[in-house]
Symmetry: C2
C-alpha cells in the first residue's frame, strides 16, 4: 500500500518551497519554484502536482493532503490577503485552487502559525499543550497554543504579537504605527538599535562607513568578538524582548516559550539578556515557572514541516 | 419532577453571596453570609446546604451542581490560593469541600473569569465565540473567550490583563511591580489620576482638602457637572485603557470587548475616550471591526450568574 505523505508548501517572497512529509516529520523530497514565475497564482497547484509525480512514484507514496504556510494566510477562509511581499494583489483563494487540483484536504495559515504547529508535531513542543512560539526574523511573528490548539480568534488574525506597541512614539513600523515591538526585537530591529548606539556613542567614522553592510548576523559576529556596541545592541534587544514576553504571558500563561528564526540563532547572546529581563519583569505568580527555549526545528525545514503539520493535525482531530 | 437549579456562589472579602440559578439565568433565591464568620472554610458547604434547604423545598427544585467564583480561584485544582482579601491562608481545597457535602458537579474559578462566562450564558455575549471581558473595579480583571472557551493556560492563571505593564517605572502595583495597567484603568486608578491632576494643576486647596472622600463615583458625578479635572481624569483613563485594549486584541483577536464593573457604569464618560484611543492605537487589520460594549449583566447579579454558568457550561460540554 502506498505510504501517505503530506505536501507541505512554504510560500515566500522569493521562492515557493515544497516537500513531501511523513507523519513522523521526515521530509522525503524537497523542491522549489520561483515566486515571480507566478504572476498569477492559478497554475501553481498543477505545476507542483507535476513536479512531485515522479518523486511520489519512486517513493511509493501518495498525497494525503496539502498544507500551506504563507504570509497573510487566513486559516478560516483559505485565502492570502494582500501580502506585501507576494506578487498577487487582493484576495487569493489559494486553498480552493489546491483543492481543485488535488481533491484532498487542504489547509492554509500564516507562516508563523504554521511553524508554531510544526514545533508541536515535530519540534521541541511535543507533549506541551500551552506554549508561545516566536519567530525573530525580518519581523516578529508568533503562534500561541492554548490547550493544544492554535489561537485563531474571530477571523484568524489573532497572534499579531509583533505589533504590540512597546514604545509610544517609537520607531515607525511597516504597519503604519509607531513603537511596535518588531521594530526592536527582530533581525531588523537589532540593526536599528546598533545604528542608534553607533550614532549616540559617537564612535569613529570607520564603523559608520561600514554601516550599510551591517546585518543581524554581522552584529552577532561582532558581539562574539566582544565588540562593545554589538554587545550593547544584544543586551537592549534582549531587554525589550524579555519585557514584551513578560507582558505576553499575562494573556495565555504558556508553560514554555520557543524562540525561532535568524536572531534566535545568536544563542546566549540573545537568550541570556532576554531571560534576565523576562524574570525581572514577570508577575510573581509566573516567576521561575516559564521556560524560554530555542526552537527544536531546523531553520531550513521548519516552514515545510509546519505547513505539513496543519494537515496531520487536522487528521488527528477528525479521528 | 423537581426543577434543576445551580447553586452559584460569589466569595468576596466581606460577604459570601449565593443564589439558586435556572438554566435560563433566572435567580430564584439569593442569600448571603459574612466571610469573617468563617475563620476556617470547612463548615461553609454544610451551612449553605442548610440555608437553601427550605427555599429548594418551596421552589420544588433540586441542586444540579455548585459553581463558585472567588478571588484567586484555580479552575484546574479547584483551590483558592492565598487570596489577600480572604481570611484563609495557604491553599483552600474549596471545590473538594463542596463536593463532599453536595455530591454533585462542583466547579470553581476566579471571579473575573466566572463573570466572563456569565456574559456568554446570560449577558450580552450570547452567540459570540471570541470576546474579551474586562472588569473595572478595584483592579482590572479579565476573561478571554476564544472559540467559545475561556482561556485558562497552563495552570489556570492566564488572563491577568490587569498586570500588563503600560508605564515602565509607573505607579506601584499591589503585585509588587510598577506601571501595571490596573493602577490606571480601574476605579482605584482613576482616583489616583484625579489626585495627580489636582496636584499638578495647583487648584485651590478646598478641593484638595476634600481629597480623602473622592472615589470613582464622586469623580463621575463631578465630570457630569463639567468639572474640568474630573473630565480630564476620565479622558486620561480612557486613553490608557483604549491603548491597552488595542494591544490586547493582538493576542486573541476578539469580535467584541465587554466592559463591566463600577468604572464602566460611568458610560460615555469612559467609553467615548476609550473607543477613540482604541481605534487610534489599533493595527489597521483590526480597525472598525471590534466593538467595545457595556456588559449585559447587572452589577448585582453578575457574580452569582457567572458562578452558576460554570456548571451549566460544563453540563453542555458533556452532553
Amino acid at each position: 500500500m502506498a505510504q501517505d505523505v503530506v505536501l507541505g508548501i512554504d510560500i515566500g517572497g522569493t521562492g515557493i518551497k515544497f516537500g513531501l512529509v511523513t507523519r513522523n516529520g521526515e521530509i522525503l523530497h524537497t523542491d522549489k519554484v520561483k515566486t515571480k514565475g507566478y504572476p498569477k497564482p492559478d497554475p501553481l497547484p498543477e505545476d507542483l502536482k507535476k513536479r512531485i509525480a515522479e518523486p511520489l512514484k519512486k517513493l511509493g507514496a501518495k498525497v494525503a493532503g496539502v498544507g500551506i504556510g504563507t504570509p497573510n494566510g487566513n486559516y478560516f477562509d483559505g485565502t492570502i490577503d494582500q501580502a506585501p511581499n507576494l506578487p498577487w494583489k487582493g484576495l487569493v483563494p489559494m486553498k480552493a485552487l489546491f483543492k481543485k487540483t488535488f481533491r484532498k484536504p487542504v489547509a492554509l495559515t500564516n507562516d508563523a502559525k504554521a511553524a508554531a504547529l510544526g514545533e508541536m508535531y515535530f519540534g521541541a513542543a511535543q507533549g506541551c499543550r500551552n506554549y508561545l512560539f516566536i519567530t525573530l526574523g525580518t519581523g516578529l511573528g508568533s503562534g500561541q497554543v492554548v490547550n493544544g490548539k492554535l489561537i485563531y480568534g474571530h477571523d484568524s488574525l489573532a497572534g499579531e504579537l509583533g505589533h504590540v506597541i512597546v514604545y509610544r512614539n517609537g520607531r515607525l513600523c511597516g504597519c503604519g504605527r509607531k513603537g511596535c515591538i518588531e521594530q526592536y526585537a527582530s533581525a531588523t530591529g537589532i540593526v536599528k538599535t546598533y545604528y542608534e548606539l553607533l550614532r549616540n556613542k559617537n564612535v569613529d567614522s570607520f564603523r559608520l562607513s561600514l554601516g550599510n553592510m551591517i546585518d543581524a548576523e554581522k552584529i552577532c559576529a561582532l558581539a562574539l568578538e566582544e565588540d562593545e556596541i554589538a554587545l550593547e545592541a544584544f543586551s537592549r534587544t534582549g531587554w525589550i524582548l524579555g519585557f514584551h514576553l513578560a507582558n505576553s504571558v499575562c494573556y495565555t500563561r504558556p508553560e514554555k516559550i520557543f524562540l525561532f528564526g535568524g536572531l534566535a540563532q545568536a544563542g546566549d547572546l540573545l537568550f541570556e539578556p532576554t531571560i534576565r529581563s523576562f524574570e525581572d519583569n514577570l508577575m510573581n505568580i509566573y516567576q521561575d515557572k516559564i521556560e524560554i527555549l530555542p526552537s527544536g526545528l531546523k531553520e531550513s525545514e521548519a516552514a515545510i514541516l509546519g505547513a505539513a503539520s496543519l494537515i496531520w493535525g487536522e487528521m488527528e482531530d477528525d479521528s
